[in-house]
């Protein structure tokens, strides 16, 4: 079953791709076999993150970018993430509404993903879903995050390059964004640039970037003015994006970023696996209540208890 799925994905079969992403999302048992088998086929796609506050026009902008890239004959995939309700677990996934004109284009694949409790602006399955799409032969994979505030910056660990979309009318909020998402943008997009305040926003971004530059001595991040609705500035943005990636490729930053991505990924897998083993060995699920009682009765203290349990695991490892 998994073998047929893998063959389908590499062939670019839409149903196989879609089904594989569901398996990743549902964390099925064959997920690891699937990802490992696909791994040798990955590394060809350019992965672009697109992030920004709610209502900044990320989906509409994506729609326009898809148009341009399709004219160049590129195969494009989109992973659009929306939040799951923390109460019911349900979600309304409506990002693709703005991209529906590409629904019947065989060179475009759009998948909506619910965050399923994962914080950080993407879903826990996004990284592996990217691998499926990469192995399936998409040239460009775009990850649209949920509408972000200040701390949803995980897309920077998944993408080769990040577009940060801002819109006029956020006022002083850009000051608030400074510490969080402002730092993860490689390319800045002032969307809805037909609005009055657009130039002021651009000046503010330049100011913030200037402060950042003087600290890091890095080169300037490009800023593009677009209007997704009026279809202006998109060609420049797409060209600018590819120019930027080319530069990153030439000076080694792209390879460095991909290496860092893999580093984080391995650490995450290690942590999850080790944690699972430890809890399995200690039978945490059943013992936790007993431990908590011990602590509540002041017979033990949190660090003391955990250290003792971890020592127990390590001792078992040595023997």
């Amino acid at each position: 079953m998994t073998k047929r799925l893998i063959e389908g994905i590499i062939r670019g079969d839409v149903r196989s791709i879609a089904r594989a992403i569901s398996r990743i999302e549902n964390d099925t048992q064959d997920k690891e076999t699937l990802i490992d088998a696909l791994y040798e086929h990955t590394g060809h796609a350019l992965v672009v993150g697109i992030t920004g506050p709610p209502g900044s026009g990320k989906s509409s902008l994506l729609d326009r970018i898809i148009e341009r890239e399709r004219k160049q004959g590129k195969k494009v995939a989109v992973l659009a993430i929306d939040p799951s309700s923390p109460f019911t677990g349900g979600a309304i996934l409506g990002d693709r509404l703005r991209m529906q004109k590409h629904a019947t284009d065989q060179g475009v694949f759009i998948r909506s993903m619910a965050s399923r409790g994962h914080l950080g602006g993407v879903s826990g399955a996004t990284a592996d879903a990217v691998k499926v799409l990469d192995a399936a032969g998409f040239d460009l994979i775009m990850i649209e995050t949920i509408g972000v505030g200040q701390t949803e910056i995980e897309v920077m660990n998944l993408a080769d390059v990040v577009l940060l979309v801002l819109v006029p009318g956020l006022g002083d909020e850009i000051q608030a964004l400074k510490a969080g998402v402002m730092e993860i943008g490689d390319i800045f997009v002032v969307n809805k640039s037909d609005k009055e305040e657009a130039n002021r926003l651009k000046a503010e971004i330049e100011y913030v970037l200037h402060l950042k530059m003087s600290q890091e001595q890095s080169e300037t991040n490009p800023i593009f003015m677009t209007s997704a609705i009026q279809n202006t500035g998109i060609d420049q943005l797409v060209q600018g994006m590819h120019d930027y990636v080319q530069k990153m490729e030439a000076d080694g930053r792209l390879a460095q970023r991909r290496r860092k991505r893999l580093t984080l990924e391995l650490r995450t897998i290690f942590t999850a696996k080790v944690e699972a083993h430890v809890h399995n060995f200690l039978d945490t699920d059943h013992k936790l209540d007993i431990w908590i009682d011990q602590i509540l009765q002041k017979k033990s203290a949190p660090y003391q208890l955990v250290n003792r349990k971890v020592a127990q695991v390590l001792k078992e490892l040595k023997s």
Binding site: V14, R15, I17, A18, R19, I21, S22, E25, N26, D27, T28, Q29, S84, S85, T88, G89, G90, A91, I92, L93, G94, R96, L97, Q100, A103, T104, F109, I110, R111, S112, A114, R116
Partner: protein, 134 residues
């Protein structure tokens, strides 16, 4: 492992009345499902491609223009043609009672007319749970 039920709510045809579709989408979200909403004026082809890309378990079609006898069966036909035999299709909207047996024969498994309590839609989904692939 946590299997989530995914439902596509789509509006084929030319009418622009999506209040009903949006209401159902929101209610199903509240019931804990992942609901993909495509917006108005979708061709059967676009709906089927979306259903396949999104790997949904159910497709809910909403239509108020009167073209349900053509468009609903067309969606089912295209789904089956693409090999999506396990996707369960239901419909809603202004649909005369006398059309319902025909639609059911064409593979639209349930039809919800105006005034149906949302509970019935949820019951329909829950009652088909065992049929969904793992």
């Amino acid at each position: 492992m946590s299997r989530k039920i995914r439902i596509l709510i789509a509006k084929p045809g030319l009418d622009g009345h999506d209040r009903g579709a949006k209401y159902v989408a929101r209610a199903l979200k509240e019931a804990g499902y992942e609901v993909i909403y495509t917006g108005i004026r979708q061709s059967p082809q676009a709906i089927v491609q979306t259903a396949i890309q999104e790997d949904v378990d159910f497709v809910g079609l909403s239509l108020l223009s009167g073209a349900h006898n053509e468009l609903f069966p067309e969606v089912v036909r295209l789904l089956r043609k693409q090999g999506a035999n396990d996707v369960i299709v239901f419909g809603g909207g202004v649909i005369p009672e006398e059309d319902i047996p025909f639609l059911k024969k064409e593979g639209i498994e349930a039809v919800f007319t105006p005034g149906t309590p949302i509970k019935e839609v949820i019951e329909f989904i829950e009652s088909n749970k065992e049929r969904l692939r793992q």
